[in-house]
């Protein structure tokens, strides 16, 4: 430590002693100011942390022009989002196909051939078969 620094620290030691003997009224006003300042410190809510975090991840991935980020990184992030949407759409379509497959299986396992349900004559025959049967003897 140089003589200059030693002298400076000696002075500061005396100044420190002086702060201990501060007037009570002044010390109280300082305490009140400190408490008021501490109260004005706003706690950060969980919601804002989540939003800030998401924005931070996107910002970190893509960068920004103001921070010297690359535009092609932004494009890459957008492409990744589009790919994600396409995959979700494809997956939903796959589910629909599975459902149709189950219906088809149920129809094929039935005793009747599937084409029977499409035949108008078959429908008419079913309707007729439910009608009362007229005996040939009584007709005579």
């Amino acid at each position: 430590m140089s003589p200059e620094e030693r002298f400076a620290h000696q002075i500061c030691r005396v100044l420190d002693e002086g702060t201990r003997g501060l007037d009570y009224g002044i010390a109280e006003r300082l305490r009140a100011s400190r408490e008021q300042a501490a109260l004005s410190l706003q706690p950060v809510s969980c919601e804002s942390i989540t939003i800030a975090g998401s924005a931070g991840v996107l910002g970190h991935l893509s960068g920004s022009h103001s921070n010297g980020g690359h535009p092609w990184l932004t494009l890459l992030v957008i492409l990744a989002l589009l790919l994600g949407v396409s995959l979700a759409y494809y997956w939903n379509g796959f589910d629909q196909a599975t459902e149709n497959e189950e219906i088809d299986s149920a129809l094929l396992s039935d005793n009747l051939p599937p084409n029977a349900y499409l035949d108008r004559g078959f429908q008419a025959w079913i309707a007729k078969s439910h009608a009362p049967i007229v005996s040939p003897v009584s007709a005579e």
């Binding site: 003589p3 200059e4 620094e5 030693r6 002298f7 400076a8 620290h9 000696q10 002075i11 500061c12 005396v14 100044l15 420190d16 002693e17 002086g18 702060t19 003997g21 501060l22 007037d23 002044i26 010390a27 006003r29 300082l30 305490r31 100011s33 400190r34 408490e35 008021q36 300042a37 501490a38 109260l39 004005s40 410190l41 706003q42 706690p43 950060v44």
Partner: protein, 187 residues
């Protein structure tokens, strides 16, 4: 991010030195308290999300800016009152610097041994010498040696170069040594 408790602890550790710094600069207790209070509020409202270890240089920068703002406002006020004040003798003309040495009896009301009295007198002489330093020299000296900021932090708080900080500190120390030696205080 600093919690409310950490901010409070930091302010408690620095508030008295901050007040003294402001008193040395503006020479008025109430103005000094207002400056410190304003600086505390600005720190909490604008920089409360910073880590605790960043608070000391930030607070010093805010404090020094608040003191400079006070100077600017004072200069504006003085332009409007110069015609009246110029008719009266200045405070320096009326008082002998040696007569301003006062012993603060509230400092130790129960015992006043010669050593304590000497300490109070020494403190008062040092405070007077600090008040009489040029503002930038005093600022550099207090930030660097009393607040314990390094040269880069001091330069940032003072908005000047690191070379200027070294120059101001050196000049301040020599000026203080000369002034105190004239009053019979040797390092």
């Amino acid at each position: 991010m600093a919690s409310r408790n950490e901010l409070s602890q930091f302010l408690a550790s620095t508030e008295r030195r901050a007040y003294k710094q402001a008193v040395f600069a503006v020479r008025d207790d109430d103005d000094a308290l207002d400056i410190v209070q304003d600086s505390m509020m600005r720190l909490a409202e604008n920089y409360g999300d910073r880590p605790v270890d960043e608070l000391p240089p930030l607070f010093q920068r805010i404090l020094q800016n608040a003191i400079r703002d006070f100077y600017r406002r004072s200069r504006t006020r003085m332009r409007h009152t110069v015609s009246l004040t110029s008719l009266e003798p200045s405070e320096d003309e009326l008082t002998d610097p040696l007569e301003t040495i006062e012993v603060d009896e509230e400092y130790n009301p129960f015992a006043t041994p010669p050593a304590a009295l000497l300490q109070v007198e020494t403190l008062h002489l040092i405070e007077e010498a600090l008040k009489n330093l040029p503002p930038r020299q005093r600022e550099a000296f207090l930030l660097r040696y009393w607040e314990g900021l390094d040269i880069a932090e001091t330069a940032s708080a003072m908005s000047c170069s690191e070379g200027s900080v070294k120059t101001h500190c050196s000049r301040a120390t020599h000026t203080l040594a000369t002034a105190l030696k004239a009053k019979g205080i040797r390092p």
